[in-house]
Structure formats: C-alpha cells, structure tokens
C-alpha cells in the first residue's frame, strides 16, 4: 500500500530530474577548462543539490548547502581562482587512466553497497530505531522547542557542535597565520643568504596597486637580467678555468 503510493508520487519525477541535472553539471565541470565557468557551475551544482535535499524533506541540510555551498564557497573559489590562471591546462590521456580506474572501482563499490542501504523513509532503518526516536520524544519533554534538529545540534550533541566551532575557528586561524588579514603575508619577501631577491609578488588591493605592479614588472625584469648576466659570467669563468686546466 505504502509502496504503491510512493511509486505514483510526483516528487520522484522531480527527484530524477534534479539528479539528471546534477549528473549533467558534474560532467560539464569535468569537461570544461575555463576556471570561471567551473566555479559558477559548482555553485549551480550546490544549488540543485539543495533543491534535491528540500524534496527529500531535509530542509536544514538544504539550507546549509544553499548558504555554504552555493553562496560562500563559490565566492571563496572565485577569490582563489583570481590568483591563478583563468584556464587550466589540458591533461594528457595517459595521465587520466589511473584516476578513471579509481573512479570506476569506487563507483562500483558504491553501487554494490546500495543493496544494503535501508529504503527511503524505512521505519526499521537505524536512523529511525536508535537514538533518533529518543531525541524526538525527549525534546518536547525536556527542551520545549519545536525544532528537534536545533535541540540535537545545540543541546544533546553540544560537544560535537563545540568541536565544529573550534574547527571553523582553527581554519580561520590557519588562513590568517598564512595569509594575514590585509594580505600582509604577500609583502613579506624571502631573502635567501641575506640577498634581497624579489619585490612582493602578491600586492594588496589598494590604490597604489598599479604603480606597485609596474614596479614589480621593472624590478623583476632587471632581476632576471642580473641573473642572466651573472650566469654568463659564471660560464665564462668556468671556461677560463677549463682552459687553465688544459
């Protein structure tokens, strides 16, 4: 009875359509070379999966996916992309065989595991028989708030959420230690064996930028010239040395 009503539900058509869009977007991400388009398509992928989560009644997960996946991570990927080239180099076929094998094996393993998974909404699944039912019963008695997800997240699983907050804090701390808030880390210059080599290569986005960029270009080119001159000298010396030996 339940099975038949599930089979005729129109949401399954919606689910299939969303999954199809996900597969198409994933393949186009793999095939594309323009990094800007790839970042945008990753945002589309996150948004479509958020829609799919809504159709599976997982609104909290969908909300997080839309905010984090489609919103912030797209912007962060864009910011990271601007530091790199706009297009990725094509990968030769010989280097694609090993990753393809890994993907095929992992995919086959997942398809093999599907048989052991409980059906969607199964009453006897571990999620619906274990501690989950306990949370749902006790939330109304002990915490008096309607949203069980918030009760589990902040109260029953408070330790885990504290761990997540600390993880986010340490991620931010790591970025700040490596890059600095104003991009100051980019102004730090390496001086191997006391020699001042290069001007800052990662300028901060300020008004003095254009002049500093021009400076970098001229200094870089002069540095390159210097090194080429010195290598020429060295080779000359070597030649003299060789002559002397002879």
């Amino acid at each position: 009875m339940m099975l038949s009503s599930y089979a005729v539900a129109p949401t399954i058509i919606l689910d299939l359509a969303l999954m199809a869009i996900l597969i198409i977007v994933a393949f186009s991400i793999v095939r594309m070379r323009s990094l800007f388009a790839i970042v945008m398509l990753q945002g589309v992928y996150s948004l479509v999966s958020a829609a799919w989560f809504v159709s599976l009644d997982a609104v909290d997960v969908a909300f997080t996916e839309a905010a984090v996946g489609a919103g912030v991570s797209t912007v962060l990927m864009l910011a990271a992309m601007l530091l790199a080239n706009r297009k990725s180099d094509p990968v030769p076929i010989s280097k694609q065989i090993a990753p393809l094998l890994v993907v095929i094996v992992a995919g086959l393993a997942m398809f093999y595991a599907i048989g052991d998974m409980p059906a969607f909404g199964d009453v006897n699944s571990p999620a619906n028989t274990g501690v989950g039912m306990d949370y749902i019963e006790r939330t109304t008695k002990e915490i008096h708030i309607p949203n069980v997800v918030t009760a589990v997240l902040a109260s029953y699983r408070g330790y885990d959420t504290f761990g997540e907050a600390v993880v986010i804090f340490s991620a931010g701390l790591g970025v700040l230690l490596l890059l600095g808030l104003n991009g100051n880390a980019g102004r730090w210059t390496a001086s191997p064996s006391g020699q001042h080599t290069y001007p800052p290569m990662a300028p901060s986005a300020n008004s003095r930028l254009r002049s500093s960029r021009d400076n970098i270009k001229s200094v870089t080119s002069s540095a390159v010239k210097k090194t080429s001159v010195s290598t020429a000298r060295k080779s000359k010396k070597k030649r003299f040395k060789d002559k002397g030996d002879n």
Binding site: D60, L173, S204
Partner: protein
Amino acid sequence: MHDPHVILKVISKFLVPFIALFAFYVQFHGDFGPGGGFQAGVILASAVILYALIFGLEAAKKAFPPSWVRIGMSSGVLLYGGTGVLTWILGGDFLSYGVLAHDPAHGQHYGIIAVELGVLCSVTTVMIAIFYAFGSRQPEVDEDNW
C-alpha cells in the same frame, strides 16, 4: 564619467540590509524552523562579502573593520566554551544547560541561545576573514579582464 556598475550598486545597496536581517531571522528563529548559528553566520558574512564585491575591499573594511574579525573569531568560541564552563560552575556537566535557570527547560533555552550566538559570531568572522585574506592578495580586476 558615469559609473558602469550603477545598477549593481543600487540593487546591492538595497539588498545588503535585507540579507543581514534575514541572517538574524535565521539565527533567532532557529528554535522554530530550519536554521541556526552556522547558516545565519554564513548569510551574515555573505552580506559583507556582497558589499565588498560591489563597492571594493577598502569600503568593506571600513564597514566591517578587520580588527573585529580577530575579536569575533575568538569571542565566539569563548562564548560557546564559556557556557560550558558556566554550567560546570553551577554544578552541572559540561554543556548541560538545565542548571542555567530554575526551570530546566528555560535553562536549555538560554544555553541554546548563548551557544548559537557563539557559533554565529565565529562563523561570520571566519568567513569574512578568509574572504579578506584572499581578496587582499590580488589586484582589482579590470573591466575587460573577465
């Protein structure tokens, strides 16, 4: 010279306060609907990031100074951990909010609100910190460079 981005600027100036307001709705309505500190923090950060994308990083740093980032990051985690320590002092287990008020259910409410505020604080500032850190390292993009 007229500004080529005038539509973007007008629309985003209109949108930014509503995005921030929606973030606070998500934060304080988390007990009743989907949402909570993590989502609200990301949405609040995206309001600042949108402002930075349209009006430039310097303007955004005036609106949300980088010094707030350091304070917010650590005070969020401290607020979360401090709630746990407070429950310790009041005689309960770590992060068992029942002891925060006479009625254990009210104590749970206070605890959840404090903890979610801590999460909001650190998530918002960490997201903005990462954006500032990456955004400060690159030149402004030229009009024809896209």
